[in-house]
Subunit: 179 residues, 2 copies
């Protein structure tokens, strides 16, 4: 009955499995965001969130977000095409390009911070809540819970009981950032 072989292989295939689970979370999150009328992929939000704290160069974003530089370049290009950020050559060092939110970008972040992020965060927290045991066991548990109720459904249903929406990452620069 087609049990999941990858799951059965245990640690051997943890990589595949985490990747699959991550993609699933991303895509369900994106679906929720789309349903809320903001048609931008979930993966762009970290860049926006960072820029909301302060403008930054491409390399700074890459370091801050922990992704490779070409990934940032691509996302920034897309954001610029949508008019959400500006990209300007740095005055001091003309190799650097400084990325900053436009008014539209800031408005989007504002809205996301208010309406979207708290619910996404709460939905993920709910899906992960109470999981116990080893990493492998918790991964399996999260997979099961998402089978049961996907993330976008969880986030949408949280909407109805709005007071759940807990405040998310208080964007204060590094204050609580234990790293």
């Amino acid at each position: 009955m087609a049990e999941d072989l990858v799951a059965r292989l245990g640690h051997l295939t943890l990589g595949s499995r985490l990747k699959r689970l991550g993609e699933r979370l991303q895509s369900e999150t994106s679906r929720f965001i789309r349903a809320e009328g903001a048609d931008i992929p979930a993966s762009w939000f970290p860049v926006l969130a960072s820029l909301d704290r302060a403008p930054a160069s491409v390399g700074e974003l890459a370091e801050q977000l922990g992704v490779a530089q070409p990934g940032v370049t691509r996302t920034v290009t897309s954001l610029a095409d949508l008019g959400l950020v500006t990209v300007a050559a740095d005055g001091d060092d003309r190799r650097r390009r400084t990325v900053a939110l436009t008014a539209a970008g800031a408005a989007l972040v504002e809205r996301a911070r208010r309406d979207l992020w708290p619910r996404i965060d709460a939905a993920v927290a709910e899906a992960c809540g109470g999981l116990e045991g080893s990493l492998l066991e918790q991964v399996a548990g999260l997979e099961r819970r998402l089978d049961d109720r996907p993330l976008d459904r969880r986030a949408a249903e949280l909407a109805t009981t709005a007071e759940h929406a807990a405040p998310v990452a208080p964007a204060t620069p590094g204050a609580e950032g234990v790293s």
Copy 2:
């Protein structure tokens, strides 16, 4: 000081983070395999492991491995190009294509089962060992441990203290064929 913003955002970006971590495990595993002289990506092994139990159609593989069908088609095509599997039209239902290991494929699986998988499994288990707490905390912990000593180094070093290489997957009821 560029703490990891994605990590700071907590549950909100768990998807990105899991995906990144999974990719990292996959690529470090592939690096180890390459260093051992078998130049095939880690992501192909689940297919080989499944076929080692029994030939299967593309759709059966997809279901068993929990991935989408086109992904299986692509992997199978590559494996066939390398002569590790054969793909033959099913006699009963000519829509189906039955995939089976060749002798070379079976030999590779044999070797992997003996020399590679136990060490990879042990290395991952070592990297995950003793992690505690919530999923988020364990993910952070695993990231830190891999920063400290990447998976391929762990697997390689296990080699030297060979008796560590505990028989692995046998753990699960049938990594070698039971179920």
